[in-house]
C-alpha cells in the first residue's frame, strides 16, 4: 500500500472559493490570498480531520470501500455542485458518479503532493471536460451547423431577468459558463484554465468577461 502524506497544510486550494466582495482597485491580491486561506477545503477544517482523511485516502487506495465511502460523502456536495455548474445541469448525477469511479480507479496515482480535495476537484473538472469534448465531437459529426439554434435561442433566455442566479448560470453558453465557474466559483487562474481547457489565457479572460457581462443582467 502506498504511503499518503499529510503535507497539504500550506497549499492554496484551487477548489475553494475566492471571496472578492469589495475587491477591485483597493487591494485585490491581498483580498484573494486572505479569502483562499479562509475558505478551506473539507480536509483542512482541522488538523485531526485532515489526518483522518489522509487515513481514509490510504485505506481506500488499498481497496477499502468503506473508507472510500467516507471520502465520497465528505466531498460529494462540492463535487456535485461543481459538476452541475460545469455541465450546465446536464447528466449531473451520472457525471458525479463517473467522477468518483474515476477517483477510485486513480487513487493509486495520488501521491499526496497536493491536497486530496485539490486533486479530486481537478479530476472532476477533467471528467466534465472530457464529456463535453466527446459530446461536441459527436454533435459536430451528427448535426453539423446546429449552433445556429444556440444563437437563435440566446436572446430569449436573456429576457428572464428575475431568474435565480444558479439558473442564469446554467443558461450561459458552455464555454463561458465553464470558465466563469472555474475562475469565479472555484478560484482557478487563467493560466490554469487555459491548461485545463486547452485554450489561451486571453481566450479565458475574454470568455470570463463575456459570462460576467451576461450574468450582470440577472442581478439588476
Amino acid at each position: 500500500m502506498r504511503a499518503v502524506t499529510a503535507t497539504q497544510a500550506a497549499a492554496l486550494v484551487p477548489g475553494t472559493r475566492v471571496f472578492r466582495v469589495g475587491r477591485g482597485p483597493e487591494s485585490p491580491s491581498a483580498c484573494r490570498k486572505e479569502s483562499r486561506l479562509r475558505s478551506e477545503s473539507p480536509e483542512r477544517a482541522s488538523t485531526s480531520e485532515g489526518a483522518q482523511q489522509d487515513d481514509y485516502v490510504a485505506q481506500a487506495a488499498g481497496g477499502d470501500v468503506r473508507a472510500f465511502e467516507h471520502l465520497y460523502r465528505t466531498h460529494l456536495p462540492k463535487v456535485h455542485s461543481l459538476v452541475r455548474r460545469m455541465a450546465g445541469g446536464r447528466d449531473t448525477d451520472e457525471l458525479t458518479q463517473d467522477v468518483f469511479v474515476r477517483v477510485w480507479q486513480k487513487l493509486g496515482s495520488f501521491r499526496g503532493d497536493s491536497a486530496f480535495g485539490t486533486w479530486l476537484h481537478r479530476l472532476a473538472v477533467n471528467v466534465v471536460i472530457e464529456r463535453f469534448r466527446q459530446e461536441t465531437t459527436r454533435r459536430q459529426r451528427l448535426h453539423d451547423g446546429e449552433e445556429i439554434f444556440e444563437t437563435l435561442s440566446a436572446p430569449l433566455r436573456q429576457q428572464h431577468f428575475s431568474m435565480d442566479f444558479e439558473a442564469a448560470l446554467m443558461s450561459l453558453p458552455d464555454g463561458a459558463r465553464q470558465i466563469f465557474v472555474l475562475h469565479d466559483v472555484e478560484g482557478y487562474k487563467h493560466h490554469e484554465i487555459g491548461t485545463l481547457l486547452d485554450i489561451s489565457s486571453g481566450t479565458s479572460k475574454a470568455q470570463l468577461h463575456r459570462a460576467r457581462m451576461m450574468l450582470r443582467k440577472f442581478l439588476k
Binding site: F19, V65, A206, H209, R212, R216
Partner: protein
C-alpha cells in the same frame, strides 16, 4: 455618441474584468481609472461586474437529492473481486467472450460435423451401438455400453423425458429472464438458437442416414448442451432472485 466614441467605450468595458481581477499592468490600471473617473456608465458596469463576482462567491454547495453512492459502489465493487457470472448491477451474467466463443465454436463444430457425417459413406461407418428402445435415464447421461468401437448413441427423436425437462427449464428461464442482464439474455438466446439449429441439422441428416455414428453422437451432444445451458441459466435466474 459617435461611432468612434462607442468603440472607445467598448474597449474600456472589455477591460473591466481584467481591471477587477488585477490582470493588467500599472499603466493600464491608471488609464482605466482615469476613464472611470469621468464615465458613469463604466463605473456602473464595473459595479455590476463586481456584484456578479461577489454573488458567485456566495454560491452554496448542495448534495444531490438522491443518494448516488449505491451507483458508485456497484461500479467499483467488481474491480476488486470479479466473480464469474456476476454483473455490477447484481444481475447475473455470463461473460460475453465466453458465450460468443461458445456460440462460434458450437456453430463451427456443428456444421463441420454434420458435413463430415453426411459426406461419409454409411457403409464404412463404424457399427452403431444401439441403445435400448427406452430413452436414457437422463439426457445428459446417455447409456452406452463399454466397447472398443467408437461410442455412439442412437437416440429417439421422441424423447419424452428430455422434452419435458427442456420445456420445464425453458418455462423457468422465461419467468426469470428479467433478472438476468439484458445483454446476457441476448447472447443466451443467440446460443440457444445456434444449438437448436444444430439439432435441427442433425435431425434432418439423421433422417437420411439414421445409423450414422457421428450424427447420432453429435445429436446427443447438442441436446445435452442445450440442457446444460438451460440448467445453468435457470439456476442463475433463481440465484439472482434469492
Amino acid at each position: 455618441m459617435t461611432t468612434e466614441t462607442m468603440g472607445t467605450e467598448d474597449s474600456f468595458t472589455d477591460r473591466l474584468s481584467d481591471y477587477l481581477d488585477d490582470e493588467m499592468s500599472a499603466a493600464e490600471r491608471a488609464e482605466i481609472e482615469t476613464h472611470l473617473a469621468g464615465c458613469g456608465d463604466c463605473r456602473a458596469t464595473l459595479a455590476e461586474l463586481r456584484a456578479v463576482v461577489a454573488r458567485a462567491s456566495l454560491l452554496s454547495d448542495d448534495a444531490p437529492s438522491t443518494d448516488l453512492w449505491s451507483g458508485v459502489e456497484e461500479r467499483i465493487a467488481p474491480s476488486r473481486s470479479v466473480l464469474p457470472f456476476v454483473s455490477a448491477r447484481r444481475r447475473f451474467t455470463f461473460t460475453l467472450p465466453q458465450l460468443v466463443a461458445a456460440g462460434l465454436a458450437l456453430m463451427l463444430s456443428s456444421g463441420a460435423l454434420v458435413w463430415v457425417a453426411t459426406m461419409r459413406d454409411s457403409r464404412v461407418s463404424p457399427p452403431i451401438v444401439a441403445t435400448t428402445q427406452t430413452p436414457p435415464s437422463s439426457a445428459t447421461e446417455p447409456a452406452a455400453p463399454e466397447t472398443d468401437e467408437p461410442r455412439a448413441t442412437r437416440v429417439s427423436f421422441a424423447d419424452v423425458r428430455y422434452d419435458e425437462a427442456i420445456s420445464d427449464l425453458e418455462k423457468t428461464l422465461d419467468e426469470g429472464r428479467n433478472r438476468l442482464d439484458p445483454e446476457t439474455v441476448r447472447v443466451l438466446e443467440a446460443n440457444l438458437l445456434a444449438i437448436d439449429q444444430a439439432i435441427d441439422q442433425c435431425r434432418k441428416a439423421l433422417r437420411n442416414d439414421p445409423s450414422n455414428v457421428y450424427l447420432n453422437n453429435h445429436f446427443v451432444e447438442q441436446r445435452n448442451r442445450k440442457l446444460a445451458l438451460l440448467r445453468r441459466a435457470t439456476a442463475l435466474t433463481m440465484e439472482a432472485g434469492s
